[in-house]
Symmetry: C2
Subunit: 195 residues, 2 copies
C-alpha cells in the first residue's frame, strides 16, 4: 500500500499520469515514452521505475484499472486505463483555481552569480556554450511547432510549446547580450578578491 498523504491531494506526478492516461489507455512503458515526448520540457521526464510505482498507487486508489495483456513476440504487459473516479480526480484538480509557482533551478545561473570567483573568460565560455544549447533547443521546438500548427485537437500542446519557445528565445537574446558585455568590459583579466 502506498503511504497515506497527510493532506491536500495527490502529488503532482500522479496527476501527470492521470492526465496522460486521459488521452487513452497505455502501458507503463508507453507512458514513459509519452511523457518524454509531451511533457518532459516543462514538467517531467520520469525514471521508468517511478512510472511503475505511480501506477501501482493509482491502481490501489481506484483511479486506474490494470489489464494484463499476454503477448507472444513481446513480453506480457499491463495496460492501464482511467476509471470514472480517476477522471473525477483529474478534473477536480484541474479546476482548483490556485496557480502554483514554477520550480526553476539553474546550476548555470548559480555559476554566473559566483562569477567573481573565477576568470571572466571561464564565464564567457560557459555563456557561449549555453547559447549554443539554446539554439539547438529552439530548432527542436520549431520543428515540433510545425507539426502542431493547424491541428486544433492539439491546441493545448501547441500553447505549452509556445511557452517554451518564448522562454528560450528570451534567453538567447540574454546570452548574446551578456557575452558582448563581458567581452567588452573585461578583455582578459580575472577577479579573485575575496572577503
Amino acid at each position: 500500500m502506498p503511504p497515506a498523504r497527510k493532506s491536500g491531494g495527490l502529488p503532482k506526478t500522479s496527476y501527470a499520469v492521470l492526465g496522460l492516461l486521459s488521452f487513452g489507455e497505455r502501458s507503463g512503458y508507453d507512458l514513459k515514452a509519452l511523457a518524454d515526448y509531451s511533457i518532459a520540457n516543462f514538467f517531467w521526464s520520469p525514471a521508468g521505475s517511478q512510472i511503475y510505482a505511480e501506477l501501482r498507487r493509482l491502481t490501489y486508489l481506484g483511479f486506474v484499472t490494470e489489464t494484463m495483456v499476454r503477448q507472444e513476440r513481446r513480453p506480457d504487459k499491463r495496460i492501464y486505463q482511467l476509471t470514472t473516479s480517476g477522471q473525477g480526480a483529474l478534473s477536480d484538480w484541474l479546476e482548483i483555481p490556485e496557480v502554483e509557482p514554477d520550480i526553476f533551478k539553474s546550476t548555470f545561473l548559480l555559476k554566473i552569480f559566483l562569477g567573481r570567483s573565477t576568470q571572466t573568460e571561464t564565464i564567457v565560455a560557459q555563456v557561449e556554450e549555453r547559447r549554443q544549447q539554446i539554439e539547438e533547443r529552439i530548432s527542436q521546438l520549431e520543428e515540433k511547432e510545425a507539426t502542431l500548427r493547424d491541428r486544433p485537437e492539439l491546441a493545448f500542446a501547441y500553447i505549452t510549446l509556445k511557452s517554451g519557445l518564448a522562454a528560450n528565445r528570451a534567453q538567447l537574446l540574454w546570452a548574446e547580450e551578456v557575452v558582448e558585455e563581458l567581452k567588452m568590459r573585461d578583455p582578459g583579466q580575472s577577479y579573485l578578491d575575496n572577503g
Copy 2:
C-alpha cells in the same frame, strides 16, 4: 558523518553554500537569509534545517571552519568561513566547462497541457491569474534592478537578475497572447471528449 558520494563532486547545494560564504563569513541563519535574498529566484531557497545539515557536511570535509560566538542578548551562534581548501573546491567546480541543463517544472503548464479535460474558462482564468503573478514578479525584479545598476561589484548578480527579467517578460507576452486566443476561439464552451 555525511554519506560519501559515489562519484563526481558534491551536490550543487554544497557549492551554493560555499559560494555564498565566498562573500564573507556567516552563520547558518544569515546564510538562509542571504540565499533567500540572492539566489532564491534561480536556484535555491533552502529550508533552515537543510542549511545546518549542509554546514555540518562542509565542516566535516574541511571546506569551512566553524567558530562559536557567544552572545548575550541573542542566542549563541556558529560562524562559518571558507578554508583555502573550500575556496579551491569552489573554483575547481566553477571551472568545469560542462553546462548542465536547467531544471524547470511547471504545474501550471501541466494544467494547460491537459486543458481539454476542463472548461476553457477554467484555463483562461488560470492563465489570467498567472499573468498577474508575473506582473508582480516583474515589478519586484525591476526594483531590484534599480538597486543593482551601476554597482560594478555586483555585476554578476545584475546579470542573473536580467535573466529573470527577460524570462518573466517573455512569459507575460505569452500569457497575454494565450488569453486573447482562447477567448476568441471558444467563447464559453467545453471540450470533454475522451478516449
